[in-house]
């Protein structure tokens, strides 16, 4: 059961908030999702079926050779931020 209180808790952890009406919509959506889950749970022997993460079985996935290529220089990085010091990005201090 996912109630509004739980949704608020998750929203807080994900660091965003929503209007009350949006929580209502989301809760209704979860009701549908959980019903679907229940349905899947009733399939025989479901616990012995391995979860599928991708639509196709891929057997030809290659690993990358360990070859170095520094693609960017710090100018490329720093162009995306207005707050720079000593070639590093400045962020507010988050530890005590």
């Amino acid at each position: 059961m996912i109630d509004k209180e739980k949704l608020r808790e998750y929203a807080k952890k994900l660091m965003f908030d929503m209007k009350d009406s949006e929580y209502d919509t989301l809760q209704k959506e979860f009701d549908v999702i959980l019903k679907q889950m229940d349905l899947i749970g009733k399939i025989d022997n479901i616990s012995s079926v391995l979860p599928m993460f991708y639509p196709f079985e891929l057997d030809n996935v290659k690993l990358r050779e360990d070859v170095v290529n520094n693609e960017l220089v710090f100018d490329d990085l720093l162009v995306n931020t207005s707050n720079v010091k000593d070639n590093q990005v400045v962020v507010p201090k988050v530890v005590e």
């Binding site: 891929l58 070859v67 220089v73 710090f74 988050v94």
Partner: protein, 475 residues
């Protein structure tokens, strides 16, 4: 004072020594200019995709196999979601559901007693960027972001600080022997999270407290000592331990609460969709198995059983792979294992430690060392002389055998030659002959005089015999 059962579990992070990062081709290096080893993947630019480094997978598999782990049929990754500037993606790619190795073990020896340390799992993930904190801001260096990191997690099966440290040393040695990491704690290549609980009931685990990101084994020891003392005091005073994560400050020698269970972060793990499953073939596992050398535990036992050296010497030699390899090389070339162990753990190690050198960086050939020790064994030079000349050779970066020859220190084993010196000394000191026959203890003093004259080169055993004979003649 009440005694509690201490239970410790460790999570050890080790940076792999690949050339490039785990999911991008940026250089994996710890001492580059800030923000120079970066790519669009590391910085999480939109539209970029991670591609797994082959070498990082091989090295992780090697470790997992060396740790006697079960290896999955497929390699897959998960996302660990959290919001912090050290990972620009907003998540870390790790292995939560399908680690590269699980249910393994590592044998260690604590004070002569064997112990099997259970490994929960070992998994491949990526390191985060470095945050350098200043008075009211922090600076981000992304060079470390994406470096392959192998995390090894033990079961809560370590029951003392000594066991914990012993395990850490054995694990670091495994990393080095397998060649997967330089495992230098001073370079941040090996870091540790420590879980510890205290319980009155020896059959139950107490409440777990975690201490994060401890950099050196000495700090692990100190953090554990501090934490066990802190928890003991709380329990003795009737208090309760709170399940929490703490930070150990090695300057203040104290731990501080970071967050408790209520504030625990929900990482919302799910399978990383950007990396398809990758098959781990049986052939690959067989190939890697063949590359794993004999590790610390077995090597120490081999040296004790086959070469008859002490556990202390065997452990000292095995600690550094290069030294162990050198020891083995000398033996393979016909060297005497006991003399070699004595000289390596003595003169050679103290020279290496004194000048912070590695054994492959000094001028010492296995053949020369064997020859020097043969001279000792065959009484051509004394043990003391050999040690002195070896020290001198190492300090002056010279070949030890050439030095022996040029210093003319070979032992005098010719009876006539010794007799001449004996006669000389006795002629110069007739009172000593009289004292000897009067029953005074001057024998060793006379030996000392002979040694002085021969600069310590006279064979002690033979000198003693010759002197006795000559003194009897002069009765």
């Amino acid at each position: 004072m009440m005694m509690y059962k201490v239970v410790i579990g460790l999570e050890v992070h080790c940076q792999l020594n690949t050339k490039s990062k785990n999911f991008s081709s940026s250089l994996n290096s710890y001492n580059s200019l800030v923000n120079s080893n970066i790519s669009s993947v590391d910085l999480a630019y939109p539209g970029t995709l991670p591609v797994v480094n082959k070498e990082a997978v091989y090295k992780s598999l090697k470790t997992a196999i060396a740790l006697n782990c079960e290896i999955p049929k497929y390699l897959s990754f998960d996302r660990k979601n959290y919001f912090y500037p050290d990972l620009p993606k907003g998540y870390q790619i790790t292995q939560m559901h399908n680690p590269i190795g699980k249910n393994g073990y590592l044998m260690i020896n604590v004070d002569g007693v064997d112990k099997k340390v259970l490994i929960h799992d070992t998994h491949l993930e990526e390191d985060t960027a470095n945050l350098n904190h200043y008075s009211n801001y922090s600076l981000i260096d992304y060079n470390r972001c994406g470096i392959p990191l192998l995390e090894t997690v033990t079961e809560p099966c370590l029951y003392s600080i000594k066991e914990a440290i012993c395990f850490l040393e054995a694990l670091r040695s495994l990393f080095i022997y397998c060649g997967i990491s330089d495992a230098r704690s001073d370079k941040g290549q090996i870091r540790c999270d420590v879980n510890v609980s205290l319980s009155k009931d020896y059959n139950k685990l107490g409440t777990r407290v975690e201490m994060k990101n401890i950099n050196t084994f000495n700090n692990v020891k100190e953090a554990l000592e501090y934490e066990i003392k802190r928890q003991t005091e709380i329990l003795n005073n009737g208090g309760k331990i709170i399940q929490e994560t703490r930070r150990y400050d090695d300057n203040l020698k104290q731990s501080f609460s970071m967050r408790n269970k209520v504030d625990a972060i929900d990482y919302k793990y799910f399978t990383e969709p950007n990396i398809p499953k990758i098959k781990i073939s049986d052939e690959l596992i067989t190939k890697i198995k063949e590359e794993i050398p004999m590790l610390q535990f077995d090597l120490v036992n081999k040296y004790i059983n086959e070469y008859n050296i002490s556990r202390v010497d065997a452990t000292t030699i095995v600690k550094d792979r290069k030294i162990s390899d050198f020891y083995q090389l000398c033996i393979n070339k016909g060297g005497n294992p006991i003399y070699l162990a004595n000289f390596i753990t003595g003169v050679i190690l103290s020279h290496l430690n004194k000048f912070n050198l590695s054994i492959d960086k000094i001028k010492l050939e296995a053949d020369s060392l064997n020859k020097l020790l043969d001279m000792v064994i065959n009484n051509k030079i004394s043990n003391k002389q050999a040690k002195e000349v070896l020290t001198k050779a190492l300090e002056e970066d010279k070949d030890v055998i050439s030095l022996v020859n040029s210093l003319n220190i070979s032992q005098i084993t010719n009876k006539d030659e010794i007799l001449n010196v004996v006669k000389e000394v006795l002629d110069e000191n007739p009172n000593l002959v009289k004292d000897y026959h009067d029953g005074k203890k001057v024998f060793d003093y006379i030996i000392g005089q002979i040694m002085k004259k021969t600069k310590g080169r006279a064979n002690p055993k033979l000198t003693s015999i010759v002197l006795k004979e000559e003194l009897d003649l002069r009765a």
